[in-house]
Symmetry: C2
Subunit: 111 residues, 2 copies
Amino acid sequence: MTYGTSIPPGEALTALADPTRRAIVEKLARGALPVGELADGLTVSRPAVSQHLKVLSDAGLLTVTPHGTRRLYRLAPEGVAQLRRYLDRLWDDALSNFAAEAERRAASKEP
Amino acid sequence: MTYGTSIPPGEALTALADPTRRAIVEKLARGALPVGELADGLTVSRPAVSQHLKVLSDAGLLTVTPHGTRRLYRLAPEGVAQLRRYLDRLWDDALSNFAAEAERRAASKEP
DNA sequence: ACTTACGGTAAGTTGTGACTTACGGAACAT
DNA sequence: ATGTTCCGTAAGTCACAACTTACCGTAAGT
């Protein structure tokens, strides 16, 4: 029984569409960070970062663990995994369809 | 020598952020289609579909082959592959960082 | 108790992107 | 030649999402 929270991949894709959010995710991929440190090195304000973190969390891509007065954000592997599965399915469908089309093309004389 | 056009994954992610474009991609994953047939079964107008197809093409996710007066759109496996590689790198970084953090936590007495 | 870090939320502004209708150009048919 | 089908592009509208500043909690330090 796999039991993931199963947020549809659309939210995660929407979340990763924003360049600032991608920058955040890529930073977090290399280690958990509090909001303040994330905001340094980014061109936007700290509240903006907070808002982005909410979007990413809602998409299942991040988890939070309060540590004293700060909140450590870290990448959620399961969130990334779900996106990978979605793309894998696209990939598989596309390839098997390619094979089917090639076969069909070979059956009739002209493409 | 693999030689892909190497469009940054940001464009593909932005392209897949839109639900209508995801619907298009998922249809195309099951077989190539002309614009008109794509537009049927979608809630938006045909010109809207054309615009979406442009975005997806620019992102490297689609290829076009003119067939008479119609244009057959099909999913580009390499485009999907590039997204998969991006997510794989995120995944790998996240996991190796997890290991490093766990080790660090084990080294000091308190988490 | 007061102050100082840290961070989430409210409110308001603004650019952008997803849509529409209208139009124009190719390719095939008659 | 003319009409028809298929499709891309232009122009304009409108909603939303990504910011900003301001404010209010909460936890720790002194």
